[in-house]
Amino acid sequence: MIAINSDNQTSLGIIEPKLVQCQELLELESGGVLDGYQLIYETYGELNHARSNGILICHALSSDHHAAGYRDKSEKSIGWWDTLIGPGKPIDTNRFYVVCCNNLGGCGGSTGPASVDPKTSKPFGPNFPIVTVEDWVNSQAFLSDQLGIDCWAAVVGGSLGGMQVLEWSIKFPQRLKNAVVIASAAKLSAQNIGFNDVARQAIRTDPDFHDGDYYQHGVTPERGLQIARMLGHITYLSDDMMAHKFGRNLRRKEKLDYQYNPEFEVESYLRYQGERFVNKFDANTYLLMTKALDYFNPAAKQHDNLANALATATANFLVVSFSSDWRFAPERSREIVRALHTNNLNVSYAEIESVHGHDSFLLEIPDYFKIMHAYMARVYQAIPKECLPEESEAHHGQ
């Protein structure tokens, strides 16, 4: 037994990622094509005989396939949604077979801008085509086929992940029973697109960007990516939370020294977050992900009528938003809910009180987790009983 989970019954321990190769052409929404690709993914729990207890997790802008458990023996290697996924947790791995893949264009091990283009034997860099939410869902459907999962018990995602869930419900209605859309939106607002473009400009104007070909120059546009992350980070928190966490506190000093070095706590915090991010994330992926966010708008093909866009959906929905989330405000979630009940679909909606802004969806907030527990229990109950994996006694009744 590894050290990390020896005294923790709710941890998945160290998780080994898996790879799947697609040799076929993937036609992209942009009109471009990908001549085959690789997806990296993790799985947690056991798939039942009927292959009906699968839960697909869709990740957000800056995360990847490592949703739960640990990458290695360090505490820091914990998955981005480990609070929610694991034995006895709302997405209970004693009940469900949970799958999360790194999206195309990502930098976690799936084919992306930093991967080597077989045609040139050089990294794709700027030649990597722009991929959209629809393209991701198509590639996730390929992964589903490879895993032998015709129909997911639920597809679950927060933020950009929630957009993928919506797309799943529209595009492959027969392939999911439940759709859980958390802190998301059916399209970005002008303000959101504006933030994304400032982030992109920070990266693209960094002298080390080299038009996206920085791999060839042995550099990375660190400053640009760092600023992009700092900006993003501000928008993921709430004003109240920042006031509470940092206020106007000064860093390791009593008074102002009237210089441009970081003086306030909030400055050094954001810089630290930016620096940490630069070491683990690829700038071209950041550009791609923000574009995918901007482009997503399923109602566009239906004269801006979201209800019409969702007319093909048949899944049961849970939609969750957070009161202080101004990046993906409750209003955006209510628009989704409205379109769903216009279509007479089963939908429940919870607007969770939280001071943590957009980041709330990653945090263990009691009301939020109660609702997730309750909903995922219903998802589990709806799986025909003869198909259930054997459960240990300890987990009955949870």
Binding site: H341, V347, S348, Y349, E351
Partner: protein, 208 residues
């Protein structure tokens, strides 16, 4: 939305009256649906579909447990998120008196639904009258357990008041019943509901 009138659910008797009024296979909206037990009951007994609206997060989780569609909403902000004429019945059970703008909500009920069903504590119930008449104090009872200063029930009315408002809104009352909170009924309730009725139940629709 304020707390419900009391923490007790509708009695089986009240449930039965509402259930009798609701036609099979209807689409229902239950405003202030609590833990969803009414919707669950209607679904089981009348094969209804629809949604509950509720503000309290704890109750939202209970609704989901009960397999009821629930949408977290502050009823005081209206029903603007719901399309006109999209429900057969809109039910407001023991919640009207806690609304900031009951008149607007009633109008909204018949914008989104064909028929409305409202239940409310009848303030003209004789025990309430007695407490005011004899003690000169605001009534406190099992159904109205709060003091005047901490009550969520800011718009209490009598059966006569409610009927008058329905007329003003252009609603026709299709059925109305007054009951005791213990579910018992008697001749007094039928002849003088505004005096002997503790809880009023009313079904209405727009005038043709």
């Amino acid at each position: 939305m304020a707390n419900k009138l009391s923490e007790t659910n509708l009695s089986r008797y009240d449930l039965q009256i509402i259930c009798d009024w609701v036609e099979p296979n209807s689409k229902i909206m239950d405003l202030g649906c609590g833990d969803g037990s009414l919707l669950k009951h209607l679904h089981t007994s009348k094969n209804t579909t629809g949604y509950g609206l509720e503000l309290n997060s704890e109750k939202i989780a209970q609704c989901i447990d009960n397999g009821v569609n629930v949408i977290q909403t502050n009823l005081d902000k209206g029903l603007s998120y719901f399309d006109a004429n999209s429900f057969d019945f809109v039910i407001l059970s023991l919640t009207l008196q806690a609304m900031r703008d009951p008149k607007r909500l009633l109008a909204e009920m018949l914008r989104v639904g064909t028929q409305g069903i409202v239940t409310f504590p009848n303030f003209a119930y004789w025990r309430n009258r007695l407490q005011i008449a004899l003690n000169g104090k605001m009534p406190v009872s099992e159904e109205l357990p709060y003091k005047w200063y901490d009550t969520p029930n800011i718009h209490l009315c009598t059966i006569n008041d409610f009927e008058k408002l329905c007329t003003e809104l252009g609603f026709t009352i299709e059925s109305s019943v007054a009951v005791h909170s213990n579910g018992k009924t008697n001749i007094g309730l039928k002849t003088m509901p505004n005096l002997f009725g503790e809880i009023a139940l009313c079904r209405f629709r727009k005038n043709d």
